[in-house]
Symmetry: C2
Subunit: 327 residues, 2 copies
């Protein structure tokens, strides 16, 4: 299915930004004085935790669903997601009374399952070790003629997420500042491919890096090999939002052109970053949202004296997981 | 000492805003969709948790210290505070290599004591049940000729905190919106007197309400009686930032003119508001910072169909206290 689409261009992100203007929150770009001191760098955090539904996913879901025809909307939408995309699709659908069915893993964080249901979506829970979410969604689509809202591998999704990058450009330009590097959490690659498209258009010399959990660094390895690689299928991670095992077709086609490489982080590094964000910046960050900050706090020499943006992509975390990370 | 000052006027807040423009963060005014639905109102949260040092106190401390003479600065500054003012004075002093001595209660949250020391201030810990912080500070001032930076009862402090109100006015005006009510956490009254001065100048019909912990509702009772009343001296509260037992002279002189009344909240209501801010808005809020939101979430009928701003004033909370509130 993915192959029928052409890659989204910079202008698609500008169009998405217009579509989203009165709906999304412009999230703050926070210059973290403490992180800057710790890293001997100038560190900005793009706090997408403060976006509607607690993550950047609202942008892509809105941009796609609001380009559906009236007939398509009447038949509803279907999505599969470990949680953040689920909530985003459910919320966007609820804004226009569109019926939404969301296929979610049984072991997704309770907070994400409940939020999705609260927005009025029907949830279909599956076992991620024995069932295919794509197959379940395809069956629903076949039965209902609902439209599938892909979590990352669609030009409208990528363009929507790219508005995060456009905001970073505007916010840094207001400070007369060009970043040396932008670090972005990466799973299927929708966020980083959109962000890279926006940022490289304005700042061609800025380096964009993916950040993934250890074992799920398929994008980093794909960038190195030039082919779409697969994650370690036995790996586990606390980053429930970053467990997609292979880069998307569209997203990787963009990322292999625009990214400079990828980092990977351990669960311990992620928890340390969550605690830092809590203590120093008063931000609630979920594990998958903290990976880019985790790279910086791990003392990477290559960012000394540089201006670096870490995208903090989501804040939907169960209280017990959060409590364990901060204490 | 307080009596020698005249009340700060609206123009003093405008002057403070100019002084602070390149130093403070303009904190987001977040329209909380979930709180609005829960309250059947339009609810905005002014997230001063995201201010430097994690609370609004940075504004007032900066506005005062940057009006000291070179001679005064050379002799250093002294402050007494349960924590947020302490950190703010320590941080502002560190920006210009001014020596800071901070008198703090021994049982202040560890996170606040450590942050104050990390900014390079000397801390003097005292027993809040047997010693007077004012006396300890006065002794230091007598010995060192350092300048006392009062936590609330000074026109420069009030004008600095008033910039929170000015931002609220600008942010709501951009939305073509006039609030019916603004709820502000209150202890000595510096924040609310400044905010009220700014907001009433632009929106004379907006009602401003103080919010205090149960037992420490001396401002609410003072507003009712017209005289400065004292808190219940046996009371306890998790709101460590809101334990000043009597309204200030200057602050009460302003508040009795501009405020419409006061609310009080229990510890349980405060914890519920902290959990709400964590789950729904991904904000880290300390107990004292959550009291205004706690009033709204308690289902006050008088705010139905109204536009209400709750100032969320600080986020400096020990991990264990936070963990207990959210789980």
């Amino acid at each position: 299915m993915d192959q029928q689409f052409s890659l989204p261009a910079y202008q698609d992100i500008v169009a998405a930004a217009k579509r989203l203007k009165w709906v999304i929150r412009t999230t703050p770009l926070i210059e973290s004085v403490v992180a800057s001191t710790a890293c001997d760098a100038r560190v900005f955090l793009k706090a997408e935790t403060l976006q509607h539904t607690g993550s950047f996913k609202f942008r892509g879901a809105y941009n796609l669903i609001y380009q559906l025809s009236a007939e398509q909307r009447a038949k509803g939408v279907v999505a599969y997601s470990s949680g953040n995309h689920a909530q985003a699709v459910a919320k966007v659908a609820s804004l226009s009374d569109i019926k939404a069915t969301i296929v979610m893993p049984k072991d997704a964080p309770q907070i994400k399952i409940e939020a999705t249901q609260k927005f009025g979506a029907q949830t279909v829970l599956y076992d991620r070790y024995s069932e295919s979410r794509e197959d379940i969604a395809a069956t629903i689509v076949a039965e209902t003629e609902a439209t599938l809202v892909p979590p990352y591998d669609h030009p409208h999704t990528i363009a929507g997420q790219g508005t995060v990058g456009l905001e970073i450009v505007e916010q840094l330009t207001a400070l007369d500042c060009i970043p040396d590097a932008v670090l972005v959490p990466c799973s299927g690659g929708g966020l980083i491919s959109g962000v890279a498209t926006a940022i490289k258009h304005h700042f061609p010399d800025t380096q964009i890096y993916s950040v993934e959990p250890e074992g799920f660094d398929d994008t980093a390895r794909s960038l190195a090999s030039g082919e779409r690689e697969t994650a370690d299928l036995e790996a586990t991670s606390i980053c429930d939002a970053l467990l997609v095992p292979t880069p998307g077709h569209l997203t990787f086609a963009i990322n292999k052109q625009l990214l400079s490489g990828g980092y990977k982080v351990t669960d311990t590094m992620v928890q340390k970053a969550m605690a830092f964000a809590f203590l120093q910046e008063k931000l609630v960050v979920e594990p998958g949202g903290a990976v880019a900050l985790a790279v910086l706090l791990n003392g990477q020499d290559e960012f000394i004296d540089k201006t670096v943006v870490a995208v903090v992509s989501g804040g939907n975390v169960d209280p017990a997981i959060f409590g364990a990370a901060i204490t």
